[in-house]
């Protein structure tokens, strides 16, 4: 299994990076292009992606801190306000419990006076009562009739006796409005103990929360540690309801948690637990609200990333396209050059071979010629030779066959001949007319329409007249052989550019197949089975190249052929073949 994966990975990377030579297969460049794009993408996108991810997390962290920090500070500050508020009230009650004796406080008039001062100076007090050690409220100042009420069964009564002071949770009690009590136990020097108890209105709490200056979407409330709301919440319940949010981990330092409310909305909750009394202050903000800047930044980040990717892709595609195209072009050029070189080498070696063969054959041919000739002479010089006519015709046919062989060997030798180019300044049109002159009779005889379209102001060029005659004669011969009787052959000359002139010879003959076109200039390639040496056009090609020119051929089967020869106006300095 692992072996397979490894092998596949190896093949993939080799395929991607190897730029293997796929020969001339057309998909080679497609593949190269694909590989370059993939590698380019990997090379450029990976760092970009990595950077985007790192940035994303960094920004997220930074922004969150920026949001979370103020929430914490706010919670902490408000907690202090709450603590201060409660401590103040507790101190006030403690002070009264210490400053006055039981008897003084038991006096309703005194208690009422103290209660009025407290209300005036501190605010938030609803009533004040004195409870003796057996739990009976012995005196009471406040709006209700609570004198003589027995508190001995209530849990807070026991607690305050043990701890000395007590702050209750918020509750409705008899009064049917939320409030809390502060109770302080006082023990006199004689060991007698009594309790001073005050009720505090939670409106003051609401004021404290209102003073936090929160946005409409933000909620803040006080809870007890059983997670029961002590002040009303905008979204999560009324006073004394259980808060709809989940209970966070206990923390006496301001802490922030991400959680979901009952609607499944994500919220950030900053909270802190109080040491005494056992309250929790919480500030809740919807997460979306808090992280709005983050979402903006995130979409900007995303936009930049996408734009970057698109830009990289565009650039990569463009550059790869250009590069692959260049490569393809240079490959083609190299191939063409290689082909050309191979071709010239082929021509040269065939030339040498041909010359060698022709020369070797020429000597025995010369002997056959002489022997045959001698036989003929002997017959001719002896009038009484038996079967004279018969032998004469036999020897004649030997000599004629030798003559045919001689033509072939001389043509082969001519092909290989490395004649010096004799450059003269000449009128190309004149050369064309001369060559046409050789063929005039044939044209007339076969009713071939020869159209000469020669540029009147064609500049004179420096070239070899004899060689040019041979070139055009070869091409015209081919044209004449290609056309049917009554066909047409046109010869056009024009001033091509400052350095070259062009001559094209067009016919409406039978044309050539693509396969033939590929080999047309190769030595010994012929379509005229039996009658051609296959050397004509290769000689033509060789001469044109030697003269520093170029030759092109276009042909369509059944429609005709056009040969175009380009010749330099100035002679090539290097005339070596």
């Amino acid at each position: 299994m692992i072996g397979n994966v490894k092998r596949w990975l190896h093949e993939f990377t080799t395929d991607l990076t190897g730029f293997a030579d796929y020969g001339n297969a057309p998909h080679r460049y497609r593949r190269l292009r694909r590989n370059m794009i993939i590698l380019g993408m990997l090379g450029s996108m990976l760092p970009l992606l990595l950077m985007a991810v790192v940035n994303y997390h960094q920004y997220q962290r930074a922004l969150k801190n920026e949001v979370v920090q103020p929430m914490r500070a706010l919670v902490n500050k408000t907690k202090h306000s709450f603590e201060l508020f409660l401590t103040e009230r507790l101190s006030a009650v403690s002070f009264i419990a210490s400053a006055y004796t039981f008897q003084e406080l038991a006096d309703e008039q005194t208690l009422n006076r103290i209660f009025r001062v407290m209300k005036k100076e501190f605010g938030g007090f609803v009533d004040l009562g004195l409870i003796d050690s057996s739990g009976i409220q012995v005196s009471y100042a406040g709006p209700y009739q609570l004198k003589d009420k027995d508190y001995s069964e209530q849990s807070w009564f026991q607690e305050v006796k043990v701890r000395g002071s007590y702050i209750s949770d918020v509750f409705l009690g008899y009064r049917k409005f939320p409030h809390l009590i502060i109770a302080v136990a006082h023990t006199t020097g004689t060991g007698e103990s009594w309790i001073l108890r005050a009720t505090i209105d939670t409106d003051k709490f609401n004021n404290l929360i209102a003073s936090m200056g929160l946005e409409p979407t933000t909620d803040a409330f006080l809870l007890n540690q059983d997670w029961i709301l002590q002040t009303p919440s905008k979204f999560y319940g009324k006073v004394l309801d259980v808060c709809a949010l989940s209970y966070p981990p206990v923390s006496y330092e301001p802490n922030v948690v991400e959680t979901w409310d009952s609607d499944g909305k994500e919220v950030l909750m900053a909270y802190t637990f109080f040491v005494t009394p056992k309250f929790v202050l919480a500030v809740v903000k919807p997460r979306g609200e808090v992280l709005k800047p983050w979402f903006t930044l995130k979409s900007e980040l995303f936009f930049i990333f996408v734009a970057g990717v698109v830009l990289i892709c565009l650039a990569l595609f463009k550059v790869t396209d250009v590069m692959v195209k260049r490569m393809e072009e240079s490959d083609q050029k190299r191939e063409a050059a290689y082909h050309g070189m191979e071709y010239s080498n082929k021509l040269a070696s065939i030339g040498r071979l041909a010359a060698g063969v022709a020369h070797e054959i020429n000597n025995p041919l010369a002997i056959i010629n002489e022997k045959g000739g001698l036989m003929r002479d002997l017959i001719e010089y002896s009038p009484n030779f038996p079967d004279r006519e018969k032998f004469l015709s036999l020897t004649d046919s030997i000599v004629q066959s030798v003559e045919r062989c001689r033509t072939i060997t001389h043509r082969l030798l001519g092909f290989a001949r490395r004649m010096d180019v004799e450059v003269e300044v000449l009128e190309l049109n004149e050369v064309l007319r001369e060559v046409m002159g050789f063929l005039e009779k044939e044209a007339l005889h076969r009713n071939i329409d020869v159209r000469l379209q020669l540029a009147v102001d064609l500049p004179r060029i420096a070239s070899d007249r004899g060689q040019l005659q041979q070139v055009f004669l070869n091409i015209l011969n081919n044209a004449f052989q290609a056309v049917d009787d009554g066909g047409f052959v046109s010869i056009t000359s024009w001033d091509r550019d400052p350095d070259t002139v062009g001559v094209s010879i067009q016919d409406n003959g039978k044309g050539m197949s693509e396969e033939t076109l590929k080999h047309i200039f190769e030595p010994f390639f012929t379509t005229k089975k039996g009658s051609g040496t296959g050397l004509g056009l290769s000689i033509t090609y060789g001469i044109v190249k030697k003269l520093g020119g170029d030759i092109e051929v276009h042909s369509k089967e059944g429609q005709g052929t056009t040969f175009t020869v380009f010749l330099p106006k100035k002679a090539k300095s290097d005339t070596g073949a």
């Binding site: 022709a358 020429n362 000597n363 010369a366 002489e370 001698l374 060997t409 001949r417 490395r418």
Partner: protein
């Protein structure tokens, strides 16, 4: 008609002897030798009216022999035979003083014609010089 004598120089013995025979039939006395040295010796002892010289020979090549003939016997015309069909070789030979050159296989009539021309020209030159 055997007014003059031709020296045939060719390493191809069969070719040379057959050609000599044919020339003899046409009334031209032909002597054959098969290499350059033999040709030079022969000319020294028995100078012919004309030399027909093959260009490709082992040992002394045709052009070298031609140079030596022209040096020692400038009056004897030389016709070159070439098996290579190379015009350049022929032209080189003519630059060295050859009368003309023919490509093998040759036509005997053409050779006889050329020889006559060459001999006539050389005799007329000589006549002028002596006259």
């Amino acid at each position: 008609m055997a007014q003059w004598k031709v020296l045939l120089v060719d390493d191809e013995v069969e070719f040379a002897t057959t050609l000599a025979e044919r020339l003899t039939l046409r009334g031209i006395e032909a002597v054959t030798v098969h290499d350059g040295e033999a040709a030079l010796q022969r000319i020294a002892v028995d100078p012919p009216q004309i030399v027909v010289l093959d260009m490709m020979m082992p040992g002394l090549g045709g052009l070298e022999v031609l140079r030596l003939i022209k040096k020692n016997h400038p009056g004897i015309p030389v016709i070159l035979l070439t098996g290579r069909g190379s015009t350049k070789e022929g032209i080189d030979g003519m630059d060295l003083g050859a009368y003309d050159f023919l490509m093998k296989p040759i036509k005997i009539e053409a050779l006889v014609e050329k020889m006559k021309e060459a001999v006539e020209q050389s005799t007329s030159v000589r006549a002028k010089e002596t006259g």
